[in-house]
């Protein structure tokens, strides 16, 4: 097995560690940081460094190394936390993410960015650490002497024993590790220190190691290759001084040979040489105390593995497909059963009933796999709010409610952008600057709440700010100057809806955050394309609530099946308002070919499905049909069909996978008898109807003209 096989695991774990790091950084209380959190941040950097070293991601390793050193000072209270320090750390985290992305794409990270971040961090160490920090810097020009005096200071980059005391003899036991992997692991262990003895077989292979690293750190690195269960690390004893010196001397050579070429390829050589020097500082300091990092908690990357499983979405979708098929097969059996005599086949009836229940349960369970908590979405925002608030000079506290509310994965991915827009809007236009807030008698710090909750088959996602609220007069004025038809008697709700008009922005100053007026109409359209809608509640001076209402999943749809001719179609239930049998006196002709239906003082255009889809054998006289009043993108019409068949939940199947977009149709589904039925897209159907009727009118006009000419 090649080590590159583990790259993906490393990338994913490193990405998770970075996410953790960011979360902790944002949660940090600047005044009195929680030591546990500082440790967690340190551990994340450390684990990434370990992995990066294993896989030879040099730049990543060195960046995390410098980062880790500063974090180490921080967690030992030698560095006082400040807002701008946290910002620098966040920047570093972004840089690490970029580097990771570069390695993932098989390229080298940007060397300039690397040099810059190194400089920033070292500068910070220099300034902040004062006395001790000066040592780091002062030593920098002469790193080689620092390495020379054998046993003690070691470049930690090579992972060698760190100090005279503190080095331990560890027994690392590999359980059931294949020979090829074992060689790899032993090679890795060599980097930690000296291997004193080794032996065993595939089932149990023991390696004795003299090292300054803690058992947890070793485990963290090895876990990129093997499962935690395959690993057992025991502390044997402290290594005799002499032996350790020898070991250390050996690995010094390895260490310095690793450092030297690095110095060559880096542009400012001083910087590269600082690295080992700084390492000396950190490791020498860290080694005497195994530290909270080593004491209790298992490494972060070992945590979730036993309770969760990473599976490609395609696999889950395939299971959903197959379960859907199972349900269809089951209902086919059910139909056949209906033709048998229940009394003589009672056992079969019972069996099928049981099968039905199990199939339903299975379907529900499988669908729930696709559901992910809203935390996946919300967790992106602390960072964004933090950065934006700083940029805008505002003080904002972010509160999230209902993080565990579950939502279909495909929706989660598509809700992020609209939500982004809304959050930006709230920060930029909603929440006022601290001075204005104080003047208005509100707390200086604004509050932005993101909340999610279930309501029936929907999920409600609210973005709530306690800012200035929408300004009715300004909205109306702006609408007038944009040439929109408005009146002063419009209800608040109607006025709020104005902000969804394309090109509409009330921001007085266009910033790079928001205010160009491309936002809200895009938000609205995106949400509508997911089958949801957006509501706004606003009160002047008290804030604005924007509510996104979405169906829980795109994979299942509550539908109404209708028939026209011999063909069955599915109408999304949320588009259906009512159905009725039209009377011929309620039908009015308009402009020749089009017809209107009068429903309680409202005139709705008729949309004869048989005509739009050219369905043979369907009823054509409106008064013989059923009119289903449907709504698509805000406009209503009366869809004429032959019959309402029933209401059912359908599994949505993509038509475009193997075919193409069909006008008037959003997707397809499979009915109980195994046949395919098309799901109608009301808005698109209306457009199709308009196009067709325009074409008809053109044809009619052309014929008329021909007649006149002849």
């Amino acid at each position: 097995m090649d080590i590159t096989d583990f790259y993906d695991t490393f990338f994913e774990e490193a990405a998770e560690l970075l996410e953790d790091m960011e979360r902790h950084l944002l949660e940090l209380d600047i005044e009195s940081p929680d030591p546990e959190q500082l440790n967690a941040i340190f551990r994340a950097a450390h684990s990434i460094k370990g992995g990066a070293g294993t896989f030879g991601f040099d730049v990543l390793q060195r960046t995390t190394h410098i980062f880790e050193n500063i974090l180490d000072h921080l967690r030992r209270g030698e560095l006082r936390l400040r807002r701008d320090i946290v910002d620098t750390f966040l920047e570093t985290k972004d840089m690490l993410q970029d580097q990771l992305a570069a390695y993932r794409n098989g390229s080298e990270p940007d060397p300039e960015a690397f040099a810059r971040i190194c400089q920033t961090l070292q500068q910070m160490a220099l300034e902040e650490l004062g006395g001790q920090g000066a040592e780091v810097a002062v030593q920098a020009p002469a790193p080689i002497p620092a390495v020379e005096p054998a046993p003690s200071p070691e470049p930690e980059a090579a992972g060698a024993p760190a100090g005279g005391e503190g080095a331990e003899r560890l027994r690392v036991v590999l359980l059931g590790v294949a020979e090829k992997d074992r060689e790899l692991l032993i090679g890795e262990l060599g980097h930690f220190g000296g291997i004193l003895a080794q032996g065993g077989d595939v089932q149990r292979y023991e390696v004795e190691l003299a090292t300054g690293e803690s058992a947890d750190d070793i485990e963290a690195v090895l876990c990129f290759v093997v499962e935690p269960e395959q690993l057992e690390i025991q502390v044997l004893a402290t290594v005799p001084q002499a032996l350790q010196a020898k070991e250390a001397g050996e690995s010094t050579e390895a260490g310095s040979s690793q450092v030297e070429p690095a110095a060559g390829e880096l542009s400012p050589p001083v910087e590269a040489k600082k690295t080992p020097a700084a390492a000396v500082q950190a490791s020498a300091a860290a080694a005497p105390q195994p530290g909270p990092a080593a004491s209790g908690k298992p490494p972060a990357n070992g945590n979730g593995e036993s309770t969760s499983l990473r599976v490609p979405v395609a696999k889950v979708d395939q299971i959903i497909n197959l379960v859907g098929e199972l349900v269809i097969t089951q209902s086919m059996l059910d139909q056949m059963l209906g033709r048998l005599d229940g009394a003589t086949h009672s056992e079969l009836v019972n069996g099928i009933a049981l099968l039905q229940r199990n199939a339903r349960d299975l379907q529900e369970a499988v669908m729930s796999i696709r559901m992910v908590p809203m935390d996946f979405v919300f967790s992106r925002f602390p960072r964004q709010v933090h950065d934006l608030a700083a940029k805008l000079g505002k003080e904002v506290e972010l509160v999230t409610v209902g993080k565990s509310t579950e939502l279909d994965k495909s929706l989660v991915e598509r809700i992020v952008d609209p939500l982004n827009h809304l959050v930006r809007n709230s920060l930029d236009h909603g929440i006022e600057s601290p001075e204005v807030r104080e003047a208005a008698g509100k707390p200086r710090t604004g509050r932005l709440t993101l909340s999610a909750q279930h309501q029936g088959g929907n999920i409600l996602i609210d973005v709530i700010d306690d800012g200035a609220g929408l300004n009715r007069d300004r909205l109306l004025a702006k609408a007038r100057s944009n040439g929109l038809a408005v009146s002063d008697s419009m209800s608040d709700d109607e006025v709020w809806q104005l902000i969804f008009a394309p090109g509409f922005s009330t921001a007085e100053v266009v910033s790079d955050v928001s205010g160009r007026g491309v936002g809200m109409d895009v938000v609205k359209r995106n949400i509508q394309s997911l089958g949801g809608h957006v509501q706004i509640l606003s009160r002047q001076g008290q804030g604005t609530t924007t509510r996104i209402v979405l169906p829980l999943t795109l994979a299942i749809l509550d539908g109404m099946s209708i028939r026209a001719g011999e063909e069955i179609f599915i109408l999304p239930l949320n588009a259906v308002i009512e159905s009725l049998q039209p009377r011929s006196e309620d039908i009015y002709a308009m402009a020749g070919t089009d017809q209107l239906l009068k429903v309680r003082d409202e005139y709705l255009p008729l949309l004869p499905l048989h005509q739009v889809f050219g369905i043979p054998g369907a009823r054509t006289r409106p008064s013989e049909c059923i009119a289903v009043i449907v709504q698509g993108e805000g406009t209503r019409c009366a869809l004429l069909v032959d019959e309402l068949v029933g209401q059912q939940q359908v599994v949505v199947k993509n038509l475009e996978t193997n075919y193409r977009k069909v006008p008037g149709v959003s997707a397809a589904t499979i009915l109980g008898d195994g046949s395919v039925s098309l799901i109608l897209d009301i808005a698109d159907l209306q457009r199709l109807n308009r196009r067709q009727s325009a074409a008809r009118q053109e044809r009619a006009a052309a014929i008329e003209q021909e007649l006149m000419l002849s």
């Binding site: 497909n321 197959l322 859907g324 098929e325 063909e567 739009v612 889809f613 050219g614 369905i615 199947k653 993509n654 038509l655 475009e656 996978t657 193997n658 075919y659 193409r660 977009k661 069909v662 006008p663 008037g664 149709v665 397809a668 499979i670 195994g674 046949s675 395919v676 039925s677 098309l678 199709l688």
Partner: protein, 166 residues
């Protein structure tokens, strides 16, 4: 319903440079496609019609939970007699990642053709542009029209694929 073993065939082809073809009939004419394109052969089942499409697109059907369009080549090639009977089968082909069912009058044979037996196709038909043909082959008295099913099904005139993607 037959499932064809692709891997074995690929090995054979790599050895001899002889390609294997699936022979099917449309009326009295015999056509053939590269067998590696065929995924399975099914009997013709009822399809769901799709409105406002060319008549050779019969509609869509359910292939184990996946929606698959069905094309009738007999209509596309303007054959006079288009009937759906016991012999009518659907060759399910895999073309550029898409699964499409092709209705034919019957599948008769799988044959191996060495390259020298394949002649270039002349420009001869209006309903079937020679762009979609990879050649002609004669076996005894029979003449086979070798169809380049990839090109045919992804062509604009088949209207199976969105134009932007074609």
């Amino acid at each position: 319903m037959t499932s064809l073993k692709h891997a074995d065939l690929a090995a054979v082809i790599a050895d001899t440079h002889t390609r294997e073809f699936l022979v099917f009939s449309l009326g009295s004419e015999e056509y053939a496609i590269d067998i590696l394109k065929a995924q399975e052969i099914r009997s013709y089942e009822n399809v769901t019609r799709i409105a406002n499409t060319p008549d050779f697109i019969k509609g869509v059907t359910n292939l184990r939970g996946v929606i698959v369009p069905i094309v009738d080549l007999r209509i596309k090639f303007h054959l006079e007699r288009v009937e759906y009977g016991g012999q009518t089968v659907v060759i399910v082909v895999n073309v550029e990642g898409r699964v499409v069912g092709v209705v034919v009058d019957g599948v008769s044979d799988v044959i191996s053709l060495p390259p020298e037996q394949i002649k270039p196709a002349p420009e001869f038909s209006l309903s079937l542009s020679s762009d979609y043909l990879s050649g002609l082959a004669s076996i005894g008295e029979r003449m086979l029209v070798l169809v380049d099913i990839d090109k045919l099904l992804t062509s604009e005139e088949m209207a199976l694929v969105e134009k932007t993607m074609a």
